[in-house]
Every structure is written in C-alpha cells, then in structure tokens.
Symmetry: C2
Subunit: 323 residues, 2 copies
C-alpha cells in the first residue's frame, strides 16, 4: 500500500521551511513527569508562528507552488489556525490568500487572519457551506485550493514537528499527537517511525469527535457527524489521504472527555506555563488516561502540543473578579 507521504517528503519539507518556520522549543516539567509517572517531552507548537503547528504545513504547501500557481494566490476554508497559517505563508511569499471562515469563528482567530493580510469570506458553519464557498472562490480567482489537512504537502509539513522532536530526543518510546483531520497525526507517524522504526505512535481524540477511534475499531473510515467537544480544533473528519496512514501507522487512538481535556489544559498552564488551546491538551489527557500504556512500558513519551490560539476572554474554568 502506498501512502500519500513518506519520510523523504517530511525531510524535504523541513529543508523548505527552514528559517521560515520556528524550530520550536522542547519543554520538560518535573511536576508533570510526577503526575504522569514518566518522562514527558513537549514539542511546543503553540510557540510556532501563528501559534500552531499549522504554519509548518501551510508554509511547505505555499513554497511548493510553481511561480504561475503562486501568482494566482491560494484559497482555503478553515475554522482558524490553518487560515492564519496560510495567510502568513502567503504574505511571506507575497501572494494573495482567500480564506473562507465559518461565521462562528472566534474573534482572536479572525483578527489574526485579517492581520496577516488575507481576504476573509464568511460562510455558514457547515462543511458543505465551507466547501461550496471555497469552490466558488477558486472559480473566481483561479487560485490553488490548499486543504487544511488532506494534502501531501500539508501532511509532510506537519510532520516536521515530530522530526525535530526525534532529533532532540532520539530514544523516545512513544509519541502522541491529537487527531482532528489527521494532518498532524499522519505527518507525526511518518516522521517518527521514519526516524525510529520501533517507536510507538498514539493519538489523543475527544470523545465528542471520535471518528478516528471508531474508524480504527471498525477498520474502515467512518466520517464524523455532529461533533461536540471543547477541543474546537479537532471537530473535522479525517481525510482520504490521512486515514490510511492513521489506520496502518498509528497503534491506537485514546479518547478523552472534555473534563479530562480541561484538567490537562489547566495542568499545562499552571505547572508547565504552556499556554495551549484545548485541542493540544487532548494529547496530554490521553497519556494520563488509564487506556494509555503504563510508565514501565513507555517511560519516555513525546507529546506534540499543537497550538495556543485560545480565546482569553472565554477560558474553560470559573473566574473570580480581579480588577
């Protein structure tokens, strides 16, 4: 079976985005090690440009366009982080970006996309409306549609985070990433297993958007319907290109409820000072779940913290007045 990407694609992406994307820091935290009863290594993509790993894939995709393609600009639909990422990557190459965003997108993400100079086209918050609107924009502009996850250059770009993680900590026993559309997870699996064939790859997924878990159980792709979770970056279904890699190269998907996600997010904020969004906390919540293999079996685990674009006016815990 041939997959959409291999380790060479990830290495080429890494070379392409070098000097443009940040080589993000790796964090460790004694308190979280004690909580997890093992060594944890956090790859801090909340410190990536635009505050999320998404810049890696977007940057790789934009830089992979021919001059002629680039001249007509890029188009996408996104609930947020990919939109910001593509907007910035496009502006860095000096080309136009047209971003279809659901009307429900949070303010901080809309402001950021506009700040990077992209044109925003609003649509209804459904996948159908997004796709139809994006198709119309492609028709109008002749631009290249850059899917948020189901595109080889995007997947390879996202894999560069795990590549850097493996370079920094070559003896990891396992690596864990959150799964939404599967761009990050598929890239992570290809990169980490390409670097270290014996490494075990896991996904964290919200119970309320568990298409990857159910698809793995069934052995066939089951699309997500009516997702409901605080992890708003993980609402989408996997893609045609990401699913086969997740099926064959990811050992297991561990699902967690929103309460566990918020608890993990709070731990990351309070003890590790990692300002991450709920979607990132899903991966730590998975490691802390009983379904995850114990510390004797997996004593050193790498976790991809996917992003930090949280609405600071709407945090998932009760606030006391302070000013």
């Amino acid at each position: 079976m041939t997959f959409a990407i291999g380790i060479e694609d990830v290495r080429e992406a890494a070379a392409r985005i070098a000097g443009r994307a940040h080589r993000t820091p790796l964090m460790t935290c004694g308190t979280l090690d004690r909580v997890a009863r093992r060594r944890l290594f956090f790859k801090c993509e909340q410190l990536q440009k635009v505050g999320a790993f998404k810049f890696r894939g977007a940057c790789n995709a934009v830089l992979s366009l021919s001059e002629a393609e680039a001249g007509r600009g890029v188009v996408t639909h996104s609930s947020g982080n990919h939109a910001q990422a593509l907007a910035l990557a496009a502006s860095m190459r000096g080309i136009a970006a047209h971003v279809v965003m659901p009307s429900t997108s949070i303010a901080v993400k809309r402001r950021a996309v506009e700040g990077y100079g992209a044109r925003i086209i609003e649509c209804e918050p459904t996948l159908e409306a997004r796709e139809a609107t994006a198709a119309a924009v492609v028709e109008e502009t002749g631009g290249t549609f850059i899917h948020p996850y189901d595109r080889a250059e995007i997947m390879a770009g996202q894999g560069t985070a795990a590549l850097e993680l493996m370079e920094a900590v070559p003896d990891l026993d396992a690596v864990v990433a959150p799964v939404g559309g599967g761009g990050l997870l598929s890239g992570t699996a290809v990169a980490s297993r390409g670097m270290r064939p014996g490494i075990r790859v896991f996904a964290g997924e919200p119970e309320g958007a568990d298409d990857a878990f159910r698809s793995k159980e069934a052995g066939e792709f089951i699309p997500q319907t009516a997702p409901r979770t605080i992890a708003d970056g993980l609402l989408t279904s996997m893609g045609e290109l990401t699913w086969p890699i997740i099926r064959d190269r990811v050992e297991a998907v561990v699902t967690v409820d929103d309460e566990a996600v918020v608890a993990a997010m709070r731990l990351l904020w309070e003890r590790a000072k990692c300002l991450v969004e709920p979607s990132s906390a899903v991966a730590l919540a998975a490691v802390l779940d009983d379904a995850f293999p114990g510390p004797d079996e997996l004593p050193a685990v790498g976790i991809i913290l996917s992003g930090g674009n949280v609405d600071l006016d709407r945090l998932p815990w009760r606030m006391n007045a302070s000013m």
Copy 2:
C-alpha cells in the same frame, strides 16, 4: 565604591546551578516586534523551575552553604516565588526549608510551596510581621535566613538569566528587567554590563510601587510605603545591597500604570503565548512606554520575563462564561 557582587560572582553562580536550573528558552515574536518597532528578545524565566527566575538565586544560595549550615536548614519570608524557589532548592539538597508567608498569599503559590515539602508559617501581611516571624524561626531552628533579594548569592544567581541572554544575543543594545526588591535587576545589570560594557540597562516599575524610580530621582534610597499595583511580585522596597548597583549601574527606571501592565500581559499571552505574571509584563510595558528610548536608538532589546505564577482563577480581564 564596592558592590555586593561582580561579574565573577555571576559566572560562579552559573557554574554552580548548571544542570540544576533550566537554561530557559529565548523567544522572539514578529507581532510584538511590530508593536515595539524593534527586535525584542524575551528570556523566558516563566519556564524556569518553580515558574520564576527566583530559582536561580535560591539554588545558588542553598548550594553555597557549608555542610554544617545546610544541616540546620534555611528560613525565609516571601510573598510567593522566592518561597517556592527556596523550598525546591532545599529539597534538592535534602535539607529543611521554613517559609514565613503572609496570610494573603494566593492559593497557587501556597500549594506549590507545600508541594515542594517546605514548612509554612503564616504571618500578618506586613514587612514587620514577616521579619519578626522569620527571626523567631531562625532562633528556633538555627537555620540560615535567606533573604528574598538582599543577599549576594541571591543577586548573583538572578544575574545568570541575563548571562545566558547575553551569550545567546551578544549584540543587544539594551536589557530591561522589572524591579521590586532589586535582586533580578542588580544581577541583570552586573551580568549584562560585565559581558558587554556598553549595553544600556533599564528597569520597568509599577507606578504604584515606584521606590526605585523615586530613589533614582532623589539620588538616595527612599523606601516603598503602601504599594498598590497588580504586579504583586514588585511590592517590596529595594535592599541595602541591591540599591547601590541600581543607583550606579542602571540607566533609568521607567514607570508604568496597571492598565499598561495588563495590556502588555495580554499581548504576551495572546500573541507570544508567553504565560507570564503581571510583574513580568511590567518590563515589556516599560519598553512600549513613551519614556523609553526609541527604536532607532535601541533597535535590539532583551527583556527578562521574570515569572508565570499567576492565579488562573483571577485573571485581570473580564471573562465570559465558557462552560
């Protein structure tokens, strides 16, 4: 005039704490560079052990004790970060720590001190009560009192953050640190000017606790009375050892009001994903203030982000319900 510490003390402290304190990451942020119209380099002490630079000084002080001294333990009074730092440094050396804390200390800081195995002794929230209670504990235990800032080993330890900053970015035009008691600021001034004699050193200080500003203006030490600011790490007066260095080795103290502090904190959280406490944001607020030299004069500025121990249940902006 002889100062309490010189660059050699900072270098010795760096050697002493190496492998025990984190070598914290340096961050840059394109958005904040645009806001400040210059290149900013953030030394991220919120990612230091215990979430603050204070661990550097405490670790250096504890490791500088003789075996006999160490056996009798250490004592301090602190509103928070120094207490955690000393508790952890003591536990790492396997000695007792007795911490006098004001009854008004925030919950997250008390929990953390207890978590590091220290004994907490409560007192009234006045400097007099703190000092009297600490003296009684020293009397009782024979332990060594480790002042939060007015002690050479503490000041030298705090200076190691600037030492690392200067090693990473040798061509900085200026460095800025917040000032409370002056341990961080004095160490920063000695370290950065020891590494690069021409560098210009500034302090950020809250308007509501502006003893350093007023002392510099008057040319003589004026103690702080009735401080009132959201930057709860900067309430104290300077010390006898820190003031002479601040007087002679710091170019200027820039004062900022709480509104500017909260705005700078919000920028650091939202755009740089740096989860810092208000006291840290004071330094960025100072750089963004009109009183700070412009970008043509100081195009590359290093900022010490001092810590991230903020009470996540009491953030200084209005919250909307989210769960």
